[in-house]
Symmetry: C2
Subunit: 216 residues, 2 copies
DNA sequence: CTGGATCCCTCACGATACTG
DNA sequence: CAGTATCGTGAGGGATCCAG
Protein backbone atom coordinates (compact mmCIF):
# COMPACT_ATOMS: atom_id res chain seq x y z
CA UNK A 1 0.00 0.00 0.00
CA UNK A 2 2.65 2.50 0.95
CA UNK A 3 4.95 0.93 -1.54
CA UNK A 4 2.35 1.54 -4.15
CA UNK A 5 1.82 5.15 -4.91
CA UNK A 6 3.81 8.32 -4.54
CA UNK A 7 0.98 10.21 -2.90
CA UNK A 8 0.90 12.92 -5.50
CA UNK A 9 -1.82 14.04 -7.85
CA UNK A 10 0.35 14.06 -10.92
CA UNK A 11 0.33 12.38 -14.30
CA UNK A 12 3.95 11.33 -14.08
CA UNK A 13 3.47 9.83 -10.64
CA UNK A 14 0.51 7.90 -11.94
CA UNK A 15 2.47 6.69 -14.96
CA UNK A 16 5.26 5.48 -12.71
CA UNK A 17 2.82 3.65 -10.51
CA UNK A 18 1.69 1.77 -13.59
CA UNK A 19 4.87 1.15 -15.57
CA UNK A 20 7.56 2.24 -13.13
CA UNK A 21 7.86 -1.03 -11.26
CA UNK A 22 10.84 -3.15 -11.93
CA UNK A 23 10.64 -5.12 -15.21
CA UNK A 24 7.37 -3.51 -16.32
CA UNK A 25 8.77 -1.43 -19.17
CA UNK A 26 10.85 -4.30 -20.46
CA UNK A 27 7.76 -6.48 -20.60
CA UNK A 28 6.05 -3.75 -22.57
CA UNK A 29 9.04 -3.40 -24.85
CA UNK A 30 8.84 -7.06 -25.76
CA UNK A 31 5.10 -6.88 -26.30
CA UNK A 32 5.50 -3.90 -28.62
CA UNK A 33 6.83 -6.35 -31.17
CA UNK A 34 3.68 -8.44 -31.01
CA UNK A 35 1.59 -10.62 -28.70
CA UNK A 36 3.52 -13.15 -26.67
CA UNK A 37 2.96 -16.07 -24.40
CA UNK A 38 4.11 -16.31 -20.84
CA UNK A 39 6.97 -18.54 -21.81
CA UNK A 40 8.05 -16.28 -24.64
CA UNK A 41 8.26 -13.36 -22.27
CA UNK A 42 10.19 -15.44 -19.82
CA UNK A 43 12.61 -16.34 -22.58
CA UNK A 44 13.09 -12.72 -23.57
CA UNK A 45 13.67 -11.58 -19.99
CA UNK A 46 16.10 -14.22 -18.80
CA UNK A 47 16.56 -12.90 -15.29
CA UNK A 48 12.95 -12.28 -14.39
CA UNK A 49 11.49 -14.54 -11.70
CA UNK A 50 8.24 -16.13 -12.78
CA UNK A 51 6.34 -14.77 -9.82
CA UNK A 52 7.38 -11.24 -10.70
CA UNK A 53 6.41 -11.74 -14.33
CA UNK A 54 3.08 -13.05 -13.14
CA UNK A 55 2.54 -10.11 -10.84
CA UNK A 56 3.49 -7.52 -13.47
CA UNK A 57 1.19 -9.05 -16.06
CA UNK A 58 -1.70 -8.89 -13.62
CA UNK A 59 -0.94 -5.30 -12.68
CA UNK A 60 -0.54 -4.18 -16.27
CA UNK A 61 -3.73 -5.94 -17.24
CA UNK A 62 -5.49 -4.21 -14.36
CA UNK A 63 -4.19 -0.87 -15.61
CA UNK A 64 -5.43 -1.72 -19.10
CA UNK A 65 -1.99 -1.54 -20.59
CA UNK A 66 -2.27 -5.10 -21.84
CA UNK A 67 -4.85 -7.82 -22.28
CA UNK A 68 -4.75 -11.47 -21.48
CA UNK A 69 -6.32 -13.31 -24.35
CA UNK A 70 -7.00 -16.98 -24.89
CA UNK A 71 -6.14 -17.92 -28.41
CA UNK A 72 -8.97 -19.54 -30.35
CA UNK A 73 -8.61 -23.13 -31.30
CA UNK A 74 -7.04 -25.20 -32.36
CA UNK A 75 -4.04 -23.75 -30.51
CA UNK A 76 -5.50 -23.20 -27.07
CA UNK A 77 -2.88 -20.91 -25.64
CA UNK A 78 -2.74 -17.78 -23.54
CA UNK A 79 -1.23 -14.68 -25.07
CA UNK A 80 -0.59 -11.23 -23.70
CA UNK A 81 -0.94 -8.28 -26.01
CA UNK A 82 -0.84 -4.55 -25.57
CA UNK A 83 -3.99 -2.50 -25.67
CA UNK A 84 -4.09 0.67 -27.74
CA UNK A 85 -3.33 2.54 -24.56
CA UNK A 86 -0.29 0.42 -23.90
CA UNK A 87 0.91 0.74 -27.46
CA UNK A 88 1.07 4.48 -26.99
CA UNK A 89 4.17 3.93 -24.92
CA UNK A 90 6.04 2.97 -28.07
CA UNK A 91 7.51 6.38 -28.76
CA UNK A 92 8.34 6.99 -25.14
CA UNK A 93 10.17 3.70 -24.78
CA UNK A 94 12.09 4.30 -27.98
CA UNK A 95 13.13 7.74 -26.77
CA UNK A 96 14.19 6.35 -23.44
CA UNK A 97 16.13 3.61 -25.14
CA UNK A 98 17.91 6.11 -27.31
CA UNK A 99 18.72 8.18 -24.24
CA UNK A 100 20.03 5.22 -22.30
CA UNK A 101 22.05 3.88 -25.20
CA UNK A 102 24.34 6.87 -24.86
CA UNK A 103 25.32 5.68 -21.40
CA UNK A 104 26.10 2.12 -22.34
CA UNK A 105 29.62 1.40 -21.29
CA UNK A 106 31.30 -1.88 -21.95
CA UNK A 107 28.84 -4.66 -21.20
CA UNK A 108 29.25 -6.81 -18.13
CA UNK A 109 30.64 -10.23 -18.91
CA UNK A 110 27.31 -11.98 -18.49
CA UNK A 111 25.15 -9.32 -20.12
CA UNK A 112 23.45 -10.67 -23.19
CA UNK A 113 21.58 -9.60 -26.26
CA UNK A 114 18.00 -10.71 -26.55
CA UNK A 115 16.03 -11.00 -29.75
CA UNK A 116 13.45 -8.46 -28.70
CA UNK A 117 15.82 -5.86 -27.32
CA UNK A 118 17.92 -6.03 -30.46
CA UNK A 119 14.92 -5.80 -32.75
CA UNK A 120 13.67 -2.85 -30.76
CA UNK A 121 17.06 -1.16 -30.85
CA UNK A 122 17.37 -1.54 -34.61
CA UNK A 123 13.84 -0.32 -35.12
CA UNK A 124 14.54 2.67 -32.91
CA UNK A 125 17.76 3.71 -34.55
CA UNK A 126 16.30 3.20 -38.01
CA UNK A 127 13.57 5.62 -37.13
CA UNK A 128 15.94 8.08 -35.49
CA UNK A 129 18.09 8.23 -38.62
CA UNK A 130 15.19 8.87 -40.93
CA UNK A 131 16.48 12.31 -41.85
CA UNK A 132 20.07 11.41 -42.63
CA UNK A 133 19.51 8.00 -44.18
CA UNK A 134 21.00 7.39 -47.59
CA UNK A 135 18.64 5.06 -49.41
CA UNK A 136 20.58 2.41 -51.27
CA UNK A 137 17.55 0.20 -51.31
CA UNK A 138 16.35 -2.43 -51.48
CA UNK A 139 18.73 -4.32 -49.28
CA UNK A 140 18.53 -7.17 -46.81
CA UNK A 141 20.70 -7.93 -43.82
CA UNK A 142 20.98 -10.84 -41.48
CA UNK A 143 22.38 -10.00 -38.08
CA UNK A 144 23.86 -12.70 -35.88
CA UNK A 145 25.01 -12.25 -32.35
CA UNK A 146 25.56 -15.19 -30.03
CA UNK A 147 22.32 -17.13 -29.75
CA UNK A 148 20.39 -14.71 -31.93
CA UNK A 149 19.56 -14.28 -35.58
CA UNK A 150 17.58 -11.33 -36.92
CA UNK A 151 16.53 -10.51 -40.45
CA UNK A 152 16.22 -7.00 -41.78
CA UNK A 153 14.93 -5.71 -45.06
CA UNK A 154 14.78 -2.13 -46.22
CA UNK A 155 12.59 -1.28 -49.18
CA UNK A 156 10.80 1.92 -50.15
CA UNK A 157 11.98 3.44 -46.89
CA UNK A 158 10.12 0.75 -44.95
CA UNK A 159 11.98 -1.39 -42.47
CA UNK A 160 11.03 -5.03 -42.19
CA UNK A 161 12.34 -6.82 -39.16
CA UNK A 162 11.83 -10.33 -37.87
CA UNK A 163 13.50 -12.95 -35.76
CA UNK A 164 15.28 -15.85 -37.40
CA UNK A 165 17.23 -16.23 -40.62
CA UNK A 166 16.15 -15.37 -44.13
CA UNK A 167 17.03 -16.76 -47.54
CA UNK A 168 19.77 -15.05 -49.46
CA UNK A 169 20.51 -11.85 -47.55
CA UNK A 170 22.72 -9.26 -49.22
CA UNK A 171 24.92 -9.13 -46.17
CA UNK A 172 25.35 -11.39 -43.16
CA UNK A 173 26.76 -9.61 -40.14
CA UNK A 174 28.18 -11.73 -37.41
CA UNK A 175 29.32 -10.12 -34.21
CA UNK A 176 29.34 -10.38 -30.44
CA UNK A 177 30.06 -7.57 -27.99
CA UNK A 178 31.52 -5.39 -30.68
CA UNK A 179 28.12 -4.96 -32.25
CA UNK A 180 27.06 -2.29 -29.80
CA UNK A 181 30.26 -0.35 -30.45
CA UNK A 182 29.54 -0.48 -34.16
CA UNK A 183 26.06 0.94 -33.71
CA UNK A 184 27.14 3.71 -31.38
CA UNK A 185 29.93 4.69 -33.73
CA UNK A 186 32.69 3.92 -31.25
CA UNK A 187 34.01 1.47 -33.80
CA UNK A 188 34.10 2.21 -37.52
CA UNK A 189 32.90 -0.49 -39.92
CA UNK A 190 36.30 -1.00 -41.45
CA UNK A 191 38.01 -1.15 -38.08
CA UNK A 192 35.40 -3.61 -36.87
CA UNK A 193 36.12 -5.96 -39.74
CA UNK A 194 39.85 -5.55 -39.38
CA UNK A 195 40.10 -6.34 -35.71
CA UNK A 196 37.78 -9.28 -36.18
CA UNK A 197 35.02 -8.17 -33.84
CA UNK A 198 32.60 -8.20 -36.77
CA UNK A 199 32.63 -10.74 -39.56
CA UNK A 200 30.64 -10.29 -42.75
CA UNK A 201 29.53 -12.47 -45.61
CA UNK A 202 28.75 -10.44 -48.70
CA UNK A 203 29.99 -7.08 -49.93
CA UNK A 204 31.92 -5.50 -47.03
CA UNK A 205 30.97 -2.07 -48.35
CA UNK A 206 27.41 -2.78 -47.31
CA UNK A 207 28.48 -2.74 -43.69
CA UNK A 208 29.04 1.00 -43.96
CA UNK A 209 25.51 1.44 -45.29
CA UNK A 210 24.28 -0.69 -42.46
CA UNK A 211 26.12 1.35 -39.87
CA UNK A 212 24.72 4.57 -41.31
CA UNK A 213 21.21 3.23 -41.44
CA UNK A 214 21.20 1.99 -37.89
CA UNK A 215 23.62 4.29 -36.10
CA UNK A 216 22.41 5.21 -32.66
CA UNK B 1 25.43 -0.14 -7.48
CA UNK B 2 21.78 -0.32 -8.13
CA UNK B 3 19.77 -3.35 -7.41
CA UNK B 4 21.40 -5.62 -9.94
CA UNK B 5 20.90 -4.61 -13.53
CA UNK B 6 18.74 -6.32 -16.08
CA UNK B 7 21.58 -8.20 -17.71
CA UNK B 8 20.73 -7.06 -21.19
CA UNK B 9 22.74 -5.10 -23.70
CA UNK B 10 19.99 -2.65 -24.49
CA UNK B 11 19.52 1.09 -24.33
CA UNK B 12 16.20 0.84 -22.57
CA UNK B 13 17.59 -1.51 -19.94
CA UNK B 14 20.45 0.88 -19.36
CA UNK B 15 18.08 3.82 -19.07
CA UNK B 16 16.01 1.98 -16.52
CA UNK B 17 19.06 1.11 -14.51
CA UNK B 18 19.77 4.83 -14.31
CA UNK B 19 16.37 6.46 -13.90
CA UNK B 20 14.11 3.45 -13.32
CA UNK B 21 14.63 3.19 -9.59
CA UNK B 22 11.88 4.30 -7.36
CA UNK B 23 11.66 8.11 -6.97
CA UNK B 24 14.39 8.82 -9.52
CA UNK B 25 12.17 10.26 -12.23
CA UNK B 26 10.26 12.39 -9.77
CA UNK B 27 13.50 13.88 -8.53
CA UNK B 28 14.41 14.67 -12.12
CA UNK B 29 10.97 16.14 -12.72
CA UNK B 30 11.47 18.57 -9.87
CA UNK B 31 14.95 19.48 -11.03
CA UNK B 32 13.69 20.18 -14.55
CA UNK B 33 12.20 23.35 -13.12
CA UNK B 34 15.55 24.53 -11.87
CA UNK B 35 18.35 23.73 -9.42
CA UNK B 36 17.22 22.76 -5.94
CA UNK B 37 18.62 22.13 -2.54
CA UNK B 38 18.27 18.89 -0.65
CA UNK B 39 15.58 20.33 1.55
CA UNK B 40 13.66 21.73 -1.40
CA UNK B 41 13.58 18.32 -3.00
CA UNK B 42 12.48 16.80 0.25
CA UNK B 43 9.68 19.32 0.45
CA UNK B 44 8.53 18.53 -3.07
CA UNK B 45 8.58 14.78 -2.51
CA UNK B 46 6.84 14.55 0.85
CA UNK B 47 6.95 10.79 1.19
CA UNK B 48 10.55 10.18 0.24
CA UNK B 49 12.83 8.98 3.03
CA UNK B 50 15.92 11.11 3.33
CA UNK B 51 18.26 8.19 2.93
CA UNK B 52 16.61 7.21 -0.32
CA UNK B 53 16.83 10.77 -1.58
CA UNK B 54 20.47 10.74 -0.63
CA UNK B 55 21.08 7.49 -2.43
CA UNK B 56 19.26 8.57 -5.61
CA UNK B 57 21.16 11.83 -5.78
CA UNK B 58 24.44 9.97 -5.54
CA UNK B 59 23.43 7.46 -8.20
CA UNK B 60 22.15 10.12 -10.57
CA UNK B 61 25.28 12.16 -10.06
CA UNK B 62 27.34 9.10 -10.79
CA UNK B 63 25.39 8.58 -14.00
CA UNK B 64 25.99 12.22 -14.93
CA UNK B 65 22.31 13.01 -14.98
CA UNK B 66 22.78 15.72 -12.37
CA UNK B 67 25.55 17.64 -10.67
CA UNK B 68 26.12 18.52 -7.08
CA UNK B 69 27.28 22.10 -6.93
CA UNK B 70 28.30 24.27 -4.05
CA UNK B 71 26.85 27.69 -4.42
CA UNK B 72 29.37 30.53 -4.32
CA UNK B 73 29.32 32.83 -1.35
CA UNK B 74 27.77 34.45 0.42
CA UNK B 75 25.08 31.77 0.37
CA UNK B 76 27.18 28.68 0.96
CA UNK B 77 24.68 26.06 0.06
CA UNK B 78 24.58 22.82 -1.89
CA UNK B 79 22.36 22.64 -4.93
CA UNK B 80 21.58 19.84 -7.32
CA UNK B 81 21.04 20.64 -10.95
CA UNK B 82 20.55 18.61 -14.07
CA UNK B 83 23.31 18.22 -16.60
CA UNK B 84 22.56 18.70 -20.28
CA UNK B 85 22.24 14.96 -20.50
CA UNK B 86 19.71 14.88 -17.70
CA UNK B 87 17.77 17.75 -19.17
CA UNK B 88 17.19 15.70 -22.30
CA UNK B 89 14.71 13.68 -20.31
CA UNK B 90 12.36 16.64 -20.32
CA UNK B 91 10.35 15.60 -23.34
CA UNK B 92 10.21 11.99 -22.26
CA UNK B 93 8.96 12.85 -18.79
CA UNK B 94 6.34 15.19 -20.19
CA UNK B 95 5.14 12.49 -22.57
CA UNK B 96 4.99 9.97 -19.76
CA UNK B 97 3.11 12.43 -17.59
CA UNK B 98 0.60 13.04 -20.32
CA UNK B 99 0.17 9.31 -20.77
CA UNK B 100 -0.29 8.69 -17.07
CA UNK B 101 -2.68 11.58 -16.61
CA UNK B 102 -5.22 9.71 -18.65
CA UNK B 103 -5.27 7.00 -16.00
CA UNK B 104 -5.75 9.27 -13.05
CA UNK B 105 -8.82 8.17 -11.21
CA UNK B 106 -10.15 9.99 -8.20
CA UNK B 107 -7.25 10.86 -5.93
CA UNK B 108 -6.72 8.99 -2.70
CA UNK B 109 -7.77 10.97 0.36
CA UNK B 110 -4.22 11.79 1.36
CA UNK B 111 -2.84 12.37 -2.13
CA UNK B 112 -1.66 15.92 -2.51
CA UNK B 113 -0.63 18.43 -5.09
CA UNK B 114 2.93 19.65 -4.99
CA UNK B 115 4.22 22.88 -6.43
CA UNK B 116 6.58 21.18 -8.83
CA UNK B 117 4.22 18.52 -10.07
CA UNK B 118 1.58 21.11 -10.75
CA UNK B 119 3.98 23.43 -12.51
CA UNK B 120 5.20 20.56 -14.59
CA UNK B 121 1.67 19.47 -15.43
CA UNK B 122 0.67 22.94 -16.54
CA UNK B 123 3.81 23.33 -18.58
CA UNK B 124 3.18 19.97 -20.20
CA UNK B 125 -0.42 20.57 -21.11
CA UNK B 126 0.37 24.06 -22.34
CA UNK B 127 2.84 22.59 -24.74
CA UNK B 128 0.55 19.75 -25.78
CA UNK B 129 -2.20 22.19 -26.67
CA UNK B 130 0.04 24.34 -28.78
CA UNK B 131 -1.87 23.53 -31.96
CA UNK B 132 -5.38 24.15 -30.70
CA UNK B 133 -4.69 27.07 -28.42
CA UNK B 134 -6.75 30.20 -28.91
CA UNK B 135 -4.49 33.11 -28.10
CA UNK B 136 -6.38 35.67 -26.06
CA UNK B 137 -3.14 37.06 -24.74
CA UNK B 138 -1.66 38.50 -22.71
CA UNK B 139 -3.27 37.06 -19.65
CA UNK B 140 -2.18 36.11 -16.15
CA UNK B 141 -3.57 33.51 -13.82
CA UNK B 142 -2.98 32.65 -10.22
CA UNK B 143 -3.77 29.06 -9.31
CA UNK B 144 -4.38 28.07 -5.72
CA UNK B 145 -4.85 24.58 -4.45
CA UNK B 146 -4.49 23.69 -0.77
CA UNK B 147 -1.03 24.71 0.37
CA UNK B 148 0.05 25.85 -3.07
CA UNK B 149 0.07 29.03 -5.10
CA UNK B 150 1.32 29.21 -8.67
CA UNK B 151 1.51 32.14 -11.04
CA UNK B 152 1.06 31.84 -14.78
CA UNK B 153 1.46 34.38 -17.52
CA UNK B 154 0.86 33.90 -21.21
CA UNK B 155 2.27 36.44 -23.60
CA UNK B 156 3.37 36.17 -27.23
CA UNK B 157 2.70 32.45 -27.03
CA UNK B 158 5.24 32.13 -24.24
CA UNK B 159 4.26 30.57 -20.95
CA UNK B 160 5.72 32.03 -17.79
CA UNK B 161 5.33 29.93 -14.71
CA UNK B 162 6.55 30.37 -11.17
CA UNK B 163 5.73 29.40 -7.64
CA UNK B 164 4.06 31.88 -5.32
CA UNK B 165 1.56 34.68 -5.87
CA UNK B 166 1.78 37.57 -8.29
CA UNK B 167 0.43 41.11 -8.23
CA UNK B 168 -2.86 41.73 -9.94
CA UNK B 169 -3.62 38.55 -11.88
CA UNK B 170 -6.45 38.64 -14.38
CA UNK B 171 -7.98 35.57 -12.80
CA UNK B 172 -7.48 33.82 -9.49
CA UNK B 173 -8.47 30.17 -9.57
CA UNK B 174 -8.99 28.46 -6.26
CA UNK B 175 -9.68 24.75 -6.18
CA UNK B 176 -8.89 21.50 -4.43
CA UNK B 177 -9.45 18.02 -5.79
CA UNK B 178 -11.74 19.28 -8.51
CA UNK B 179 -8.81 20.93 -10.24
CA UNK B 180 -7.63 17.73 -11.87
CA UNK B 181 -11.14 17.06 -13.17
CA UNK B 182 -11.18 20.52 -14.69
CA UNK B 183 -7.92 19.94 -16.53
CA UNK B 184 -8.87 16.54 -17.84
CA UNK B 185 -12.18 17.87 -19.05
CA UNK B 186 -14.25 15.64 -16.80
CA UNK B 187 -15.70 18.79 -15.36
CA UNK B 188 -16.65 21.78 -17.49
CA UNK B 189 -15.58 25.24 -16.30
CA UNK B 190 -19.15 26.41 -15.74
CA UNK B 191 -20.11 23.23 -13.88
CA UNK B 192 -16.97 23.55 -11.77
CA UNK B 193 -17.93 27.03 -10.68
CA UNK B 194 -21.54 26.08 -10.11
CA UNK B 195 -20.91 23.10 -7.88
CA UNK B 196 -18.38 25.09 -5.94
CA UNK B 197 -15.38 22.86 -6.56
CA UNK B 198 -13.64 25.80 -8.22
CA UNK B 199 -13.90 29.41 -7.08
CA UNK B 200 -12.68 32.30 -9.20
CA UNK B 201 -11.87 35.93 -8.63
CA UNK B 202 -12.04 37.91 -11.85
CA UNK B 203 -13.93 37.40 -15.08
CA UNK B 204 -15.43 33.87 -14.91
CA UNK B 205 -15.25 33.67 -18.70
CA UNK B 206 -11.49 33.52 -18.39
CA UNK B 207 -11.80 30.13 -16.74
CA UNK B 208 -12.90 28.69 -20.07
CA UNK B 209 -9.81 30.13 -21.74
CA UNK B 210 -7.74 28.69 -18.97
CA UNK B 211 -9.28 25.25 -19.35
CA UNK B 212 -8.67 25.33 -23.10
CA UNK B 213 -5.11 26.47 -22.70
CA UNK B 214 -4.19 23.84 -20.16
CA UNK B 215 -6.47 20.93 -20.99
CA UNK B 216 -4.71 17.63 -20.67
C1' DC C 1 5.26 -29.27 -22.60
C1' DT C 2 2.87 -24.47 -21.03
C1' DG C 3 1.38 -21.41 -17.41
C1' DG C 4 1.89 -20.41 -13.63
C1' DA C 5 1.85 -20.92 -7.86
C1' DT C 6 4.69 -21.52 -3.61
C1' DC C 7 8.54 -21.42 -0.74
C1' DC C 8 12.55 -19.16 1.36
C1' DC C 9 16.06 -15.76 1.58
C1' DT C 10 18.03 -11.28 0.78
C1' DC C 11 18.28 -6.61 0.17
C1' DA C 12 16.12 -2.17 -1.09
C1' DC C 13 12.90 0.65 0.69
C1' DG C 14 10.24 3.12 4.44
C1' DA C 15 10.10 5.27 9.04
C1' DT C 16 12.38 7.47 12.50
C1' DA C 17 16.14 9.24 15.13
C1' DC C 18 20.17 11.63 15.25
C1' DT C 19 24.45 14.59 13.97
C1' DG C 20 28.08 18.13 11.96
C1' DC D 1 20.39 22.78 6.49
C1' DA D 2 22.13 18.57 4.68
C1' DG D 3 22.49 14.78 5.25
C1' DT D 4 24.01 9.76 8.11
C1' DA D 5 22.59 5.80 11.24
C1' DT D 6 19.57 2.31 12.56
C1' DC D 7 16.18 -1.04 12.10
C1' DG D 8 11.79 -3.37 10.57
C1' DT D 9 9.12 -4.78 6.48
C1' DG D 10 7.93 -6.35 2.12
C1' DA D 11 9.15 -6.61 -2.83
C1' DG D 12 12.23 -8.97 -5.65
C1' DG D 13 15.57 -12.97 -6.69
C1' DG D 14 15.99 -17.93 -7.20
C1' DA D 15 14.58 -22.59 -6.97
C1' DT D 16 11.13 -25.81 -6.91
C1' DC D 17 6.64 -27.70 -7.48
C1' DC D 18 2.09 -28.48 -9.62
C1' DA D 19 -2.18 -28.43 -12.66
C1' DG D 20 -4.00 -28.77 -17.38
Amino acid sequence: MARRGYGQICGLSRALEIVGERWAMLIIRDLLLGPKRFTDLRQGLPRIPTNVLSARLKELEQAEVLQRRILPRPATAVVYELTDYGRELDGILMALGRWGARSMGTPEPDDIYTVDSLMMALRTSYQANEATRVPAEPVSYEVRVPGIVISLTVQDGELGISGGPQPDPDLVIEASDGFAALLTGTLTPSAAIENGSVRVTGDPELLTDFANTFRI
